[in-house]
């Protein structure tokens, strides 16, 4: 080889060694996904200040910070509440075993949008899902929290027990009230998700998805039973079960092709619109559908309410096409009727909205405590067909509240205003309403402390429940970890178990 050729060979050889460092090989799609997930995990490992996501047990705190009134209220001379005198002890942990923890494609987030219920075994049950609407890869679990051991676990992997397969379009949430029959059987219905940009496209509606599922889970035996899809095309945004008869009653939507144009049949709900919601009455004990269709006339049921009077088994909701008149369904006769009462008008805005939150049993005077979607707070006597305004949930106009619970002696109502968690300035109060004095008392402001100590940003709650003795309020909170107190997408729901001091709950 002559000198020139040797030089040329050396140049080529050196280039071959150096070039990969100059021109990067294009990242493959799987590599990109892995990188995105690594970066997200790295961020959250930093933001999760105490490393709670992968630890065990609960972080327990009892601090004056809970009762420090945030500046927002002082600056606005908020005089509609008092604060507790005795500091509560609060156990906290993010919900664990979220697999996959992060969504590389940016679709979905771990959240819960339904109730928390206390089982006959003293443990608390709540749902959690990664909420991948209009996409495959949904994971949906029932979480069990044991307040004695302060441990949480995945009680039910819903997709696995119902036989959902990878690559299928499946439901994204457990959105209703998963209550218990007397033998410890929890009754649940799944929910696909809402209309709009995040709903399933017509194409996916024509694929494998053909309706939402009903299933039961016995907390004593661990047995899960699928009741399949009792109403094809129906999906259940809200449900509740008459624990005496075993009849699940659910309100939802379905894909209404071609009427009058392809849409989800609840489109344009609320006042001045034309849509309607489906209603399902299904007897889980007899595995028998009692009702699966629309209510009569133009009744449009609240998509966020399924009030069942345990004394009678009658179902109540509001009718948004008729001024939020309250309506009733009788599971024995399939009969619907309008009641002679409606949701009271909000004293500040002069409007009312659909029924949203309510106690699950009546007070001694026969009334249910209720709230509508815009924070109107009222009492409802179904047997008298009467409503009575109490006021608003929070602030001057009322704040959206999704769940309320009543103390064993019926004196206190507990709730967390701002279910959506968008009103960061409210600093997530835990509110106790005294039905005797009409006083609202804050047991704790959660947001400032939990962000400062743990990096956790609270983003609202849809499910709370009291223990049988009224001493423990368990909250499932949507939230995330983020360096900034008022930022971040939903990513890590959490459990807050508030031990209410006895002095603050004397009946």
């Amino acid at each position: 080889m002559n000198h020139s050729a040797s030089r040329l060979f050396l140049i080529i050889f050196a280039s071959a060694l150096l070039l990969p460092g100059v021109v990067k090989a294009e990242e493959s799609a799987p590599d990109k996904l892995r990188r995105v997930i690594r970066e997200k995990r790295a961020n959250f490992d930093t933001w999760d200040k105490q490393g709670l996501r992968y630890s065990k047990g609960m972080a327990t705190d009892c601090t004056k910070a809970f009762l420090k009134v945030p500046d927002y209220y002082k600056e606005n001379n908020a005089d509609y509440f008092v604060t507790a005198e005795e500091i509560p002890t609060i156990d906290f942990a993010p919900i664990r075993n979220l697999h996959p923890e992060f969504q590389a494609d940016g679709i979905g987030e771990w959240t819960h949008w339904g109730e928390v219920t206390c089982g006959p075994n003293g443990r608390f049950y709540m749902g959690v899902g990664n909420h991948r609407k209009n996409a495959t890869g949904n994971v949906l679990n029932i979480i069990e929290y044991d307040p004695v051991k302060k441990e949480q676990r995945v009680a039910v992997d819903v997709g696995r027990v119902l036989g959902w397969k990878p690559g299928e379009y499946t439901d994204t949430m457990l959105h209703g009230n998963m209550n218990f029959l007397s033998d410890g059987t929890l009754v649940a219905a799944t929910w696909l998700g809402h209309h709009g940009k995040t709903n399933m496209s017509k194409d996916s509606a024509e694929s494998n998805w053909c309706g939402s599922w009903v299933f039961t889970y016995n907390v004593y035996t661990g047995k899960v039973e699928s009741h399949a899809i009792p109403f094809m095309n129906g999906t259940w945004a809200m449900h509740n079960t008459d624990t005496s008869t075993g009849v699940l009653m659910a309100v939802g939507i379905g894909y209404a092709e071609g009427f009058p144009d392809p849409r989800w049949n609840n489109r344009d709900t609320g006042y001045h619109y034309r849509g309607q919601h489906y209603f399902l009455a299904y007897n889980v004990l007899e595995r028998k559908v009692l009702y699966a269709g629309m209510p009569p006339g133009n009744i449009d049921l609240s998509e966020r309410a399924a009030l069942i009077d345990p004394r009678t088994g009658l179902f109540y909701s509001s009718d948004s096409h008729n001024g939020s008149t309250l309506v009733c369904y009788d599971q024995r006769t399939s009969r619907w009727r309008d009641l002679n009462c409606s949701i009271p008008l909000n004293p500040s805005t002069g409007k009312n909205d659909i029924l949203r939150a309510y106690t699950y049993r009546p007070a001694p005077d026969g009334a249910f405590y209720c709230m509508d979607m815009i924070g109107t707070f009222f009492k409802f006597w179904p047997e008298d067909e009467r409503t009575e305004l109490i006021g608003v949930t929070w602030e001057k106009d009322g704040v959206y509240t999704a769940s309320i619970t009543m103390s064993p002696g019926c004196r206190y109502i507990y709730y967390l205003p701002d279910a959506h968690g968008h009103n960061y300035h409210l600093e997530q109060p835990v509110v106790q309403y005294d039905t005797v004095t009409g006083t609202k008392k804050v047991l704790a402001f959660l947001s400032p402390f939990y962000h400062e100590k743990y990096g956790y940003v609270t983003k609202g709650s849809y499910g709370i429940e009291l223990s049988a003795d009224g001493s423990l309020l368990v909250i499932e909170m949507n939230g995330t970890f983020n360096p900034e107190a008022k930022k971040g997408r939903y990513s890590h729901p959490a459990i807050f178990a508030v031990h209410i001091p006895e002095s603050e709950r004397r009946e």
Binding site: M232, Y255, F259, P260, Y278, V289, A292
Partner: protein
């Protein structure tokens, strides 16, 4: 005021009274296809001396005979005297041979006249017992014909399924609803089976009982009746099964069964609910009201056995989309309002509900249909199109509840005047030639059988 002025005023007043009466009379004039409804006893000709009348006029003593009387007479082809309409039809040249007998085994043979008045505890308007059949006739895979006869009562209601075997000319009651369901004397029970007795090739028949028009929706809580029963019967084994009350709070004025797909579809009379039941897995697919703006017309359930889609007309009152064709399909369990609608009646100027139709589509993909008021048309479901054909009988069309199509699709057969007024024009059996558009009377029944 003098006498002349007083006379003018009185005359003017009387003139106004007469004018007013005339205009009210004009407003009250009923549409001829439906007629003015008298009391049920009068409308159905129920009389106190019913039994005596029957003895008197049963000249051939056939009331209690199951023997088929066979006749072939030129009288069948004679235009009735005082025939009321224009003669826009042909009459067959050759008379048919017709076998005839009274349905047997219906007990009691005659009802007490008092029962005709006081059946319903709520209203005395229409609780009248009469032996009658208001549903379709179906040919089974065994070559026999099946139809239902009921006593039309509420308390002590009962309905039967009757089999007629044309090969041996024999009739028999094959299903007694009260026996299958266990109704006892004094129970509020169903006096009819009102829908189509569709039969699968394996011989299974699914049907729902009917207690219409009572109880009304508002009465349901006050009467000892929770809803109609679902029955299954096999024509080969004669085994009957009560599948209970699938949906409380309504009673089923009409039903049809897609046996291939296991879909039983029914429309409620009390509340206009829709019941869709999967007979394979014995569960409700849909049971409640339809979306706002759609009311399934309770006398039409047209099954397209090629696609599984089911059609009716939209009877939502005071709705400018009324009488559009509505489709239900199992995929997505949806109701869809189509562009097609029942054609406007050329004389009355309005559209009525869809009533009768052929059981299957023609080769070109159309159902032959009749509106409630006798409008005849073709409905192409895939094309979502209707073609108006004409009126089924007379100058304004006549209410007709059923029609059949010949095997090679050339002829349609029907009897106009379903609601008991056919005798006024001779009770013709009509053959409609789809090729020529002409009607031909195969036989006039009234005069001969009277």
């Amino acid at each position: 005021m003098d006498k002349r002025q007083l006379c003018y005023i009185v005359t003017l007043w009387m003139f106004m009274v007469v004018l007013s009466a005339l205009s009210r009379a004009e407003e009250k004039k009923p549409l001829t296809f439906w007629g003015k409804r008298p009391s049920p006893a009068v409308f159905y000709g129920i009389r106190k001396d019913q039994e005596a009348l029957e003895v008197k006029y049963d000249r051939k003593k056939i009331r209690h005979s199951s023997v088929m009387q066979s006749d072939s007479s030129d009288r069948f082809l004679k235009l009735p005297e005082n025939y009321p309409f224009d003669i826009d039809f042909d009459i067959a040249k050759e008379p048919p041979s017709i076998d005839f007998a009274i349905i047997q085994g219906l007990e009691p043979w005659c009802f007490e006249y008092g029962e005709s008045v006081n059946q319903s505890p709520i209203s005395a308007s229409d609780g009248f017992p009469i032996w009658s059949g208001f549903g379709d006739v179906t040919k089974g895979p065994d070559g026999c014909f099946y139809f239902s006869i009921g006593n039309h009562k509420y308390y002590g209601g009962n309905a039967f399924v009757v089999r007629y075997n044309p090969a041996i000319k024999r009739q028999e009651i094959v299903l007694d609803a009260a026996e299958v369901i266990g109704w006892k004397p004094g129970d509020w029970s169903d006096g009819k089976i009102h829908g189509d007795l569709d039969i699968s090739p394996e011989g299974d028949m699914m049907m729902l009982t009917f207690s219409g028009p009572r109880p009304l929706a508002k009465e349901f809580n006050n009467v000892p009746y929770s809803g109609a029963h679902l029955l299954k019967f096999n024509v080969f084994s004669s085994k009957a099964e009560d599948l209970g009350v699938p949906f409380s709070g309504d009673t089923w004025g009409y039903h049809a069964w897609d046996w291939e797909r296991g879909i039983l579809f029914a429309v409620g009379q009390a509340k206009n609910t829709t019941l869709i039941y999967d007979t394979n897995i014995r569960t409700l697919v849909f049971a409640g009201y339809q979306p706002k703006g759609i009311t399934w017309w309770r006398r039409c359930i047209m099954i397209d056995r090629e696609t599984g889609c089911i059609y009716t007309s939209n009877s939502t009152p005071a709705n400018d989309t009324s009488n559009t064709i509505v489709r239900w399909e199992r995929k997505n369990n949806t109701f869809t309002e189509m562009k097609s609608r029942v054609p406007v009646h050329p004389v009355h100027g309005i559209s009525f509900q869809l009533r009768a139709h052929t059981k299957r589509k023609t080769r070109e993909g159309a159902f032959w249909c009749l509106g409630n008021n006798g409008v005849m048309f073709k409905f192409y479901p895939e094309a979502d199109r209707v073609d108006y054909v004409g009126l089924n009988w007379g100058s304004e069309g006549i209410y007709t509840t059923n029609m059949c199509m010949s095997p090679k699709e050339r002829y349609l057969y029907y009897l106009p005047g379903a609601h008991s007024e056919a005798w006024k024009f001779g009770t013709p059996i009509v053959q409609f030639d789809t090729r020529t558009g002409k009607k031909k009377v195969i036989a006039f029944l009234s005069d001969f059988y009277l």
